[in-house]
């Protein structure tokens, strides 16, 4: 009973500098290390003796092929599938499902022709045979993963209400499979989406999220949510969004990458559906969470988050201001310097919508020191990024104050702008011409000479002169006007006519060219549904 503990053995001393690394401890560590190296070697040796294939899909395919080669007589199979004998019909349904799980060209149309769909749908109601329900749902999932016609055929067979019912099945695998099938149906387009919503698909989905379900299942549920939000012609109803939003708000706090990516895309799609939708989402308070994701180290998430907030700033000035108030611009130095061109492009697109705003917003971009990066992209970026940068500058020259315009001139915006005048793309030429014209108009008399000299010296004047011969009417008119007003010394400054308006709406060519996801997914046979692997 030694009551006094010696100071020397204070356990925390091991945490102080390298006191914990005493020779005995290190020796134990080394020997432990030897033991684990041995275990690895043993495992390697054992593994080598197993008929393992490095490429797992290879062995799977050969098995599928064998299955297919066995050649199913569909006449026979459809009769067996309708059999009263539970074993026979189950085996037949499973065989049909296996046929549908083949990687290459599964015989979807043949099975539809042989009228398997009503059989599968009927078996969805067999609550006493969850295995049969599961196989039927799986088969329907795979048919719905086909082209739009095939998906529609599943819907026409009235599968939706029965699949929906299965969301309440006590069997997790049946539930999950139903979710998957519904995802494929909903992902097909607005019509099936709205039908599913009308049937009440949202409530059980949202309830799953609140339950303690495995993360793989949660991923599936999130994937269905993104499919619900995906289509904008027409968008999902505001009412339904109100039901989905709390779920998305909840999911965005997750750390699982797949879930986060889907959840953020769902928001991005919704935010692309007009100012009313934007306002609803803003009111839900989720925007700051999206903005924080701009700093995530997973590219897919940053991409989705950037698209989402990019869509917000296509809204009203107040909506745009909200994004700025949450410090979004602070993430942009990093985004503008990102090595992925597409991310740069999206980032500049975002900024182009800010510079189309009011002068306070333009100033925010300037204060965040982002203009030099935009100009760098204007000069060196890939073409899509250059184009966005041109819009960004052009918008700024429209809405900015004289002082703000003077600032971008000091950042050497003129040479790259002029440089782009030699592009083949009429639109970018027009945007750059607008920008130059606006800059010229806003420049004070005292600075004007320096500016025209700069345009002349970087070869801009030659290019503008050249554009007077352009086939596009707007281009040759505007270039003529510029030359007339600023470069022919006889003319008077007062006779400036009205100018073309630079568009302040987001540029229409900005398509979703990345982050494209398949809205339809087949279930490969080597997964048993509980263990789904998504491949985006």
């Amino acid at each position: 009973m030694d009551s006094s503990t010696s100071k020397k053995t204070h356990p925390r001393l091991n945490s102080y500098k390298y006191h914990g690394k005493d020779p005995d401890e290190r020796r134990r560590w080394r020997n432990q290390n030897t033991v684990s190296i041995r275990k690895i070697k043993r495992d390697e040796q054992i593994q080598a003796k197993r008929n393992f294939q490095a490429d797992d899909s290879m062995s799977d395919k050969s098995e599928d092929d064998r299955e297919q080669n066995r050649f199913y007589n569909l006449d026979d199979l459809v009769i067996k599938a309708k059999s009263e004998d539970p074993t026979i019909r189950f085996d037949a349904v499973r065989s049909a499902r296996k046929l549908l799980s083949i990687d290459r060209n599964p015989p979807i149309d043949q099975l539809i022709q042989y009228n398997f769909l009503p059989i599968f749908v009927e078996y969805l109601t067999y609550d006493q045979c969850s295995d049969l329900q599961f196989e039927a749902a799986w088969a329907l999932t795979n048919i719905a993963s086909g082209n739009s016609q095939q998906t529609q055929a599943v819907a026409d067979a009235n599968a939706l209400p029965y699949l929906l019912r299965l969301l309440h099945s006590p069997h997790a695998n049946v539930c999950e499979q139903a979710v998957w099938a519904l995802g494929n149906l909903i992902g097909d387009g607005p019509r099936l989406r709205d039908y599913a919503i009308e049937l009440g698909v949202i409530k059980p989905l949202v309830e799953f999220i609140q339950k303690d379900i495995p993360v793989t299942f949660l991923r599936n549920v999130t994937w269905v949510l993104v499919n619900l939000c995906r289509h904008k012609e027409p968008p999902i109803s505001l009412l339904a969004v109100g039901d989905i939003l709390p779920a998305l708000h909840y999911l965005i706090a997750y750390t699982d990458i797949t879930i986060l990516v889907d959840c953020t895309w769902a928001l991005a799609y919704l935010l692309d559906c007009g100012n009313n939708m934007i306002q609803i989402i803003i009111d839900s308070g989720v925007i700051p969470h999206i903005i924080k994701l701009l700093n995530h180290n997973e590219l897919k998430i940053v991409t989705a988050a950037l698209r989402a907030i990019g869509n917000v700033v296509t809204g009203t000035d107040e909506q745009t201001q909200l994004v700025l108030n949450h410090g979004a611009l602070a993430y942009f130095p990093k985004l503008l310097k990102h090595q992925k061109d597409k991310l740069n492009k999206e980032a500049v697109w975002f900024l182009s919508n800010i510079t189309a705003g009011n002068q306070q917003q333009v100033q925010a971009v300037i204060d965040a020191q982002l203009i030099p990066d935009v100009i760098r992209h204007l000069q060196y970026g890939d073409f899509q990024t250059q184009k966005e940068a041109a819009w960004c500058i052009s918008n700024l020259t429209m809405s900015g104050s004289a002082q703000q315009i003077e600032y971008i001139v000091t950042q050497y915006v003129i040479p790259p702008l002029c440089n782009l005048l030699q592009q083949q793309d009429a639109q970018i030429i027009q945007v750059c011409l607008d920008a130059l014209h606006n800059i010229l108009k806003q420049t004070t008399i005292s600075n004007l000479e320096a500016l025209t000299t700069e345009i002349e010296e970087c070869g801009g004047l030659d290019k503008i002169e050249h554009l007077q011969n352009h086939t596009n009417k707007d281009i040759y008119q505007q270039s003529y006007e510029i030359i007339e007003k600023f470069f022919s010394h006889e003319t008077d400054d007062d006779s400036i006519s009205t100018m073309n308006q630079a568009p302040t709406t987001p540029n229409p060519t900005n398509e979703f060219s990345f982050g494209i996801m398949n809205s339809n997914q087949a279930v490969p046979d080597n997964n048993n549904g509980n263990n789904a692997q998504f491949q985006f």
Binding site: K17, K49, E63, N526, N530
Partner: protein, 882 residues
């Protein structure tokens, strides 16, 4: 034996004369041997006779204690006591109890004797009224303070040493006494201190009382009041109580944190008494430990989409603005010679700051960084050192992206401080640079910075040992960081080059020089230098191979020198040093061997083998770690040489057998078991001729109950290694081995003993490895050309075991405590059984537990387990479809 004689003998133990002492010892040993009960009786009489002189009484109690308790074998001593006739025991017990408070020396020896006897008797339901009697001694008005104090001490000893479950039913009475003695109304400080100390020991079993609000309030009140005592010892003991309560009952602390605990511990941290300050800091370090743990649990729960069972109240984060300034202040109160093993408030503050950074993450920076900037160029070295210490402490915790620019900014200052005039500053600076390498290496991964840092560090390797040691550890971290940063081609896991390549040779050269420094014993320098050398070698890219080769020669050369020095060194101190050196050289040898090209290894293996065998020879028959190290190094050589090792096998085996027989030094035995596994993997069926001997030794090991249990699972796995290596030759051991496995598979352990649960997992994994090796070995046993039926015949030898094996796998499948890796092994065996036995396995694998196990495997986070589960499922499907 007359009592007087005994008293005389006891008196003489303190004369200081060696002869007297020896004499007394012999006398007592003889008396104990002849009639222990009688001796104990007499000793207790002497203790309980207050007219005897104090020395004799104290010595009698000491002797009594020694007869009741031995640190090495508590249970044997307790059993021996319990075998003594009850009347004698009662006599002794009464004497001890009645002596409480009658002694004139402190601490009370009688209290300790009561404590030890209680520890033997209470768990077995004896001496039932003791606790109540002790409690009565404390709480009865009018009892002399001496008795109260000694009784509290006895209670404290009992609480400290006894299995806390035993005391749970009596926690109410015990607490009554302790709280009574601790009250601020208690006028006697000795009593109050004894009560406070005993309280500290009682906290583990008073869980029920802590769950009750009013009882907890009262305990907390008394403890908090005791921290305000004017008596230093009581203050410290009371604070120790708070530290422990925080950890044990964190969830209940909210009520007390704001009104009391925060202020009490803050004051303590600022105290001029180190003992008090240490407890104050320890309190907050414990808060950090607890909250960091809770944050992890929260994260885990979130990942699994469920609510955490407990959650952090974030006291540490909340207290940052108050805590950090105090800790920083403490950092500046260091002394230049603080590099020893003393624990003081300054070091405690540094550690607490590190823990805070882990808890608070990015938030810590704003509180620490201003201090760093203000003090890093301070004229007073203590401030400079504190600044660097503070900076180094906050590097782990914040997000790397946040801390990286700050680290970059700091490097020029650190480079300068590495040449500071003060050694403590240089010491901490070197440590901090190592922390940057370890946690923020992204900040230094460019040519220019690495050149500057590398040069500076290499130059300062010549500094005082304490500085050089830190530099060595920082090189270890740097090697790992640079290697992780290097790019590897896809099919190869060794990079061609990395950022350290240009300096690699120079660093290695300087490290080797450092290992040889005459002052290498100080500050653990030699170890650190060898470790750095090993890490550099382990993490070397292809373009540094020449240096690896050179190092091999150097290491071999040194090993030979040390071996010859060993033979003519008699001084035990020097021999210890030589042993340590051999251990380090063996380890370094392993690191170079693992890097060696397969063609080069045979060229140098002769002298290496010679040296290692020499080490084994000269340490043969001794209990020495050198044998273990040499065997481990030989294992690596076997692995690197493969079949080439065959020429050494006859030379090595005698030493392997000797080690396998060394059951007392189980680490040596375990090392030899490892070597057998390595031999199997490298020599394959060439090992068959030696297996009779090997198997005999291994089976002997398993049969010995005295052999440390940790070796046994390894032996079972090694059966698998051997079976896999020699295939059909294993037949003749099959019966024995299968019997042994049968027994091992049936092992059971207590469900609440975590060590034993781990052990059971290991044991089972050993069994699974053995079965797997046997099945695979038999299946692949060399069949005469074209005759594949032979293998099937061999497999039939195990058919009888199939039901048992499947049952065993089912047992594992149902075990909620199974480890992740055992799931993989079990599934692997299922797959092997199915591929080996085909159709006849269907009836076994279609059972629910097996199905569940496969599902669990497919959901595993471990890729290997997942792939195995997919594979096994597919194999099962194959046999079903056929």
């Amino acid at each position: 034996m007359a009592a007087q004689e005994l008293i005389l003998i006891l008196d003489r133990t303190v004369t200081g004369s060696q002869a007297d002492l020896e004499n007394a010892r012999n006398f007592l040993a003889k008396a104990a041997e002849q009639n222990l009960p009688e001796l104990l009786k007499q000793l207790s009489d002497i203790l309980n006779t207050s007219t005897n002189n104090p020395t004799a009484r104290t010595q009698a109690a000491l002797q009594l204690k020694n007869a009741l308790y031995s640190r090495d074998d508590i249970k044997a001593f307790q059993d021996r006591w319990l075998l003594i006739p009850e009347d004698v025991r009662n006599h002794v017990k009464n004497n001890c109890f009645n002596s409480l408070g009658t002694e004139t020396t402190k601490p009370s020896q009688a209290a300790q004797c009561v404590g030890y006897i209680a520890c033997a008797e209470l768990p077995r339901g004896q001496w039932r009224d003791l606790i109540e009697q002790l409690v009565a001694n404390v709480t009865t008005v009018g009892r002399p303070d001496n008795i109260r104090e000694a009784s509290l001490e006895a209670l404290g000893y009992i609480c400290q040493d006894i299995d806390s479950n035993v005391l749970v039913p009596q926690s109410n009475v015990i607490l009554t006494a302790l709280v009574y003695g601790m009250r601020k109304e208690e006028t006697n400080d000795h009593v109050r201190l004894a009560a406070t100390t005993a309280m500290l020991n009682s906290l583990e079993f008073t869980k029920n009382n802590f769950q009750n609000d009013s009882e907890r309030h009262y305990i907390m009140q008394v403890v908090c009041e005791a921290t305000q005592s004017t008596n230093l010892k009581i203050q410290v003991a009371a604070l120790q109580n708070l530290v422990k309560i925080l950890t044990l009952y964190y969830d209940y602390m909210e009520y007390y944190m704001g009104p009391a605990l925060f202020a009490i511990t803050m004051d303590a941290m600022k105290s001029t008494h180190d003992e008090i300050a240490l407890q104050g800091i320890e309190f907050w370090s414990n808060v950090c430990d607890e909250e960091y743990e809770l944050q992890l649990l929260q994260q885990e729960a979130q990942d699994q989409n469920r609510q955490p069972e407990r959650s952090s109240r974030y006291y540490a984060r909340g207290a940052l603005p108050y805590l950090v300034p105090v800790l920083l202040q403490r950092l500046t109160m260091q002394e230049e010679t603080d590099d020893d093993d003393d624990w003081n408030p300054c070091k405690a503050a540094g550690v607490c700051l590190m823990l805070l950074a882990n808890c608070a993450e990015d938030t810590i920076i704003q509180y620490v960084f201003p201090f760093v900037s203000e003090n890093i160029k301070h004229t007073n070295w203590q401030h400079r050192e504190a600044a660097v210490m503070a900076f180094g402490s906050m590097l782990e915790g914040p997000d790397v992206a946040t801390i990286k620019p700050i680290a970059e900014q700091a490097i020029p200052f650190l480079l300068e401080l590495l040449r500071d005039s003060n050694v403590a500053v240089r010491d901490t600076t070197a440590w901090t640079i190592g922390r940057i390498f370890e946690f923020v290496s992204q900040a230094v991964m460019n040519d220019e910075l690495l050149r500057a840092l590398g040069n500076a560090l290499v130059n300062r390797l010549a500094d005082e040992p304490r500085v050089a040691t830190n530099i060595c550890w920082s090189f270890s971290s740097l090697a790992r960081a640079a290697y992780d940063h290097a790019e590897c081609s896809e099919e190869d896991d060794t990079p061609n080059t990395y950022l350290l390549s240009p300096f690699f040779d120079e660093i290695v050269k300087k490290l080797i020089e450092t290992t040889d420094r005459p002052d290498g014993n100080q500050s653990n320098l030699r170890n650190a230098a060898y470790e750095a050398l090993m890490e550099m070698i382990r993490h070397s890219p292809k373009d540094c191979y020449v240096t690896v080769q050179k190092t091999t020669v150097t290491v071999l050369d040194r090993l030979n020198r040390v071996i010859s020095a060993e033979s003519h060194t008699a001084n035990p101190n020097d021999r210890v040093q030589i042993g340590d050196l051999q251990s380090l050289l063996c380890a370094t040898l392993q690191s170079v061997l693992r890097k060696m090209h397969p063609n080069d290894a045979p060229l140098i293996s002769d002298p290496i083998m010679q040296a290692l065998l020499q080490m084994l020879k000269s340490n043969s028959g001794k209990a020495s770690a050198v044998q273990e190290d040499a065997l481990v190094a030989i294992g690596t050589l076997i692995e690197v040489l493969g079949l080439h090792f065959i020429k050494y096998v006859e030379h090595v085996l005698p030493f392997v057998y000797e080690a396998l027989n060394n059951h007392a030094e189980y680490q040596i035995c375990a090392a030899a078991v490892g070597v057998v596994g390595d031999l199997s993997r490298s020599l394959l069926d060439k090992l068959a001729p030696y297996c009779d001997h090997i198997m005999t030794h291994l089976l002997n090991c398993l049969g010995d109950d005295k052999l440390h249990r940790s070796v046994k699972p390894q032996i079972l796995s090694t059966f698998g290694d051997i079976a896999l290596a020699i295939g059909g030759y294993f037949k003749k051991y099959l019966e024995h081995v299968l019997n042994t496995l049968n027994q091992a598979c049936r092992a059971q352990v207590a469900k609440n003993d975590y060590d034993m649960i781990d052990y059971l997992n290991e044991l089972r994994e050993g069994c699974l490895s053995a079965y797997t090796g046997i099945i695979q070995g038999l299946r692949n046993s060399v069949a005469p050309a074209g005759d594949s039926t032979l293998a099937l015949v061999e497999l039939q030898l195990v058919t009888g075991q199939l039901p048992f094996m499947v049952q065993f796998i089912e047992t594992i499948a149902r075990d909620p405590n199974k480890s992740d890796s055992i799931i993989g092994s079990a599934i692997g065996l299922i797959g092997d059984l199915v591929t080996s036995y085909g159709q006849q396995m269907i009836e076994y694998v279609e059972r629910d537990p097996i199905d569940k196990l496969l599902t669990e495997g497919k959901r595993s986070k471990i890729m290997k387990t997942k792939t195995l589960a997919m594979w096994a499922t597919k194999e099962i499907r194959k046999i079903k479809n056929n």
